[in-house]
Symmetry: C3
Subunit: 350 residues, 3 copies
């Protein structure tokens, strides 16, 4: 766990900044946020539902964030708010500010001529920036990042070490890219000719909206002819593969290991669980939830939750059941045959 920050905050100061109501002791000072189980007297914790009341009772937390429905669930110092989980996120950001970054370009960086870098930006060691890029205010580019020619990076973006952005791609403001992410590599575009694969030049770009976060080692390919587009507020976890010409609608979120095949169009406010896969050229409506491990093979036009996962069982039990999966059609035909015979027997006996 992070060392306790030097600066402490009183509950009153927190509420002044973030809203909500303090009950019991506005002067109480906290120095870090922690789960109910781990919290000590110097910590503020949070209660996200009635089923954690027992844990709250046993917690050593000095203070707690609760929802309005839990206003009287405890008599310890507390902050009452509408959305305790979101409030917790804001308190944590307050108590754990990003370390200050020194503006300027590290002496070892190699910056091509014609690049425009804001004075407030910070460019780390061993960064290479290609010709004609534009790097906005307050941008932080970590060590070893490589930015191709003509890339535009909006204000307050943060690139962790060893991100690659290919030529021509554009990032909005406040975009976060984690290490190993590769933005704008060639899409998998091939034409078949006489038993060989012919590469199709990938001349589109990747366009990324404001407030997008992209996880470690996630890859987003440039478009074949048009652009690949990640709209504002999209959150992608680690090791996600987004193929060429995909569009992901605003405020959609996808967990680790998801794959989106070429030209798929995902709606706004969608979620995809870990290792979910969406085939190419499909359209997914707004507000669709796709479960972990689910393969989407047809377009989805209605909001709702969709699943295709095969349930697991002990291996020997699985062996017995799985064998029948290869004979379901035969099984269905047997049932049909039985129905027919029974009908005949019923006729005879009636």
């Amino acid at each position: 766990m992070k060392p306790i920050s030097a600066k402490t905050w009183s509950l009153g100061e927190i509420v002044e900044l973030l809203g909500g109501e303090v009950l019991c002791d506005a002067e109480l000072r906290v120095s870090q946020i922690a789960s109910l189980e781990q919290a000590q007297a110097c910590h503020i914790s949070f209660l996200t539902g009635g089923r954690f009341l027992k844990k709250l009772e046993q917690s050593a937390a000095g203070a707690v964030i609760v929802g309005k429905d839990m206003r009287d669930a405890s008599d310890r110092p507390r902050i009452v708010c509408n959305n305790p989980y979101a409030y917790f996120a804001r308190v944590s950001a307050l108590l754990n500010p990003e370390p200050a970054v020194k503006a300027g370009v590290h002496a070892s960086a190699v910056i091509d001529p014609g690049v425009k870098i804001a004075d407030s930006a910070s460019i780390g060691p061993f960064v290479h920036i290609g010709a004609d890029c534009v790097i906005g205010d307050g941008v932080v580019i970590g060590a070893g990042c490589v930015i191709g020619a003509s890339v535009v990076i909006g204000a307050q973006c943060r690139l962790y070490p060893r991100v690659v952005i290919y030529h021509g791609c554009q990032l909005g403001e406040r975009v976060i890219l984690h290490s190993g992410a590769v933005i704008g590599a060639d899409g998998f575009g091939l034409a078949h000719e006489n038993g060989r694969w012919l590469k199709i030049p990938q001349i589109g770009r990747v366009l990324i909206g404001d407030d997008v976060e992209i996880g470690a080692n996630t890859t987003i390919d440039r478009g074949a002819l048009e652009d690949t587009v990640i709209e504002e507020g999209v959150k992608l976890d680690n090791q996600i593969q987004v193929a060429h010409n995909v569009r992901i609608g605003a405020h959609s979120a996808m967990a680790g290991c998801v794959g989106i095949a070429g030209s798929a169009k995902i709606g706004r406010h969608c979620t995809v669980g870990g290792a979910g896969m969406i085939l190419g050229h499909l359209e997914i409506a707004d507000n669709v939830q796709i479960s972990s491990g689910t393969l989407i093979t047809k377009s989805i036009h209605k909001p709702g939750a969709y699943t295709s996962a095969m349930p697991f069982s002990a291996h020997d039990v699985w062996l017995k059941n799985a064998a029948h999966l290869r004979h379901l059609d035969a099984m269905a035909q047997k049932i049909q045959g039985l129905e027919k015979k029974i009908n005949e027997l019923e006729k005879k006996s009636s």
Copy 2:
């Protein structure tokens, strides 16, 4: 989309270089290639099948590439050829040439003694090349690549930024490696001894044939004792994992997120859809197509298409159906019991 290139081509010039026949206006000049929907008067587009005829009719494209069967499908300026999709790939390459790369070794690169680098090769900033490597004519090595000792890179290979090649691996000619690819890391070789795992040295190499392309963040492990081999013309998309001792036959292509376990032998001209998985020590014949999301658990000796994907449904429907998957064997036995009873009833009633 890519800015329109400065240079324009007449249809006549294109046909002179790439073959085919011009109809209507050989003098018409085009500056970029585009889809039927996006194309403007200065663009050439392409028709890959009769089902796009409506789009062709509505397209503003100045010219179009069509197959011989579609020779008279339009009266606009057009190029008639055998394989319009492959022709489109070639026209796009013509209109979008790779930007010229400056030969030479960047001042910041660290090159070990004994490395042989062709004069026409281009080595970017922050590249490290280990002892005794051989770098061929026209090779481009992007910023931040790291090449282990005794690696051989054939003529005209292109390594995008931040590729790693471990010691001793070999690339043929015209190989393309995208950013984040790791070639030749240790295979996952472990011996079990007294409850602990003992590392087995991985002393094989990775050998990659001519005209192979490997996607961003794809990993290909070195062999345990013998070599891992990727034959000529193989195309691998992003985030593919190829384990030790695998052999992938010539001109096979695999989409993103595929995994090939150790010592699997894949035939020639195979395709694997996204997130397909092939278990270890299996043999897959030539001309096998494996569907997206399919797990191959046994060798495949016959060409053809193979699938194992579980169909998705709305989550509540899935819940109802999936529960039975754990009881298929019981279901099969029930059916058998019913058949027996019906046989008895039939005997009685006859």
Copy 3:
């Protein structure tokens, strides 16, 4: 295959170091290890079970490692031991020592003030190490690695080129990290508020025990509030995703493309096959084996093997069978209906 090492070993010298018993010719010298199929007279090979006896007979290997039960399976020079596969691993390590690494910090590396680096450590070109790190004895950090502030790296760790470790993470001793691995990126922690995602600061760390090996492009996220923990002796293959707050118990091993969702707790001595997935907040007991391609959706409290893979078939056969998966519940109800009718018929006929 690796060139034959200059140094040769006699069987007697090997047994003196690694134990076991030599039969037939202790003076015989071998220079490399090889499979039964590939071995020549200068090679030592190994027999891991009776089913390979035919191969042993046909092998040109000069010597062979056999188990005690196979002591007399051949009359060629041989070493008899308890666990021939583990013995093979040890002989291979003997014959293929890691190349010596030069201690010291490469002139191009950028090391922040306050970093403590052991004299025997080797820091490669273009490495960046943040403030207050501690780098132990004999550590090797390959070219282009980036180490965040306050990271502790134990003795004899090896980081291959282009590894990233975020601030505050800790490695035990003899940890191996392959290229492209990212340790300690932010977990995927989001709170939902008014249709937007709010980032939850990830203030935990990643703690990695002794003798852990982590594959190429594998990602292990830092904890949200507490730490992500990889216990001693764990072996992770390539392209594995370990989410925040996960704990993996000692001596567990996972093959490529596995995903472990947030806060899952995996026991000791577990194995997960390629592309296995474990959902968040689950607990997996010690000594559990999860098959390749299996999705674990509930906690597992009993040791044993577990599977959920859908069997593959030829695509047209699959089409016929898979259609019924969406109607299993209807099928089960039909069977129930038939049972009822037959019971009635039986009553009537009796």
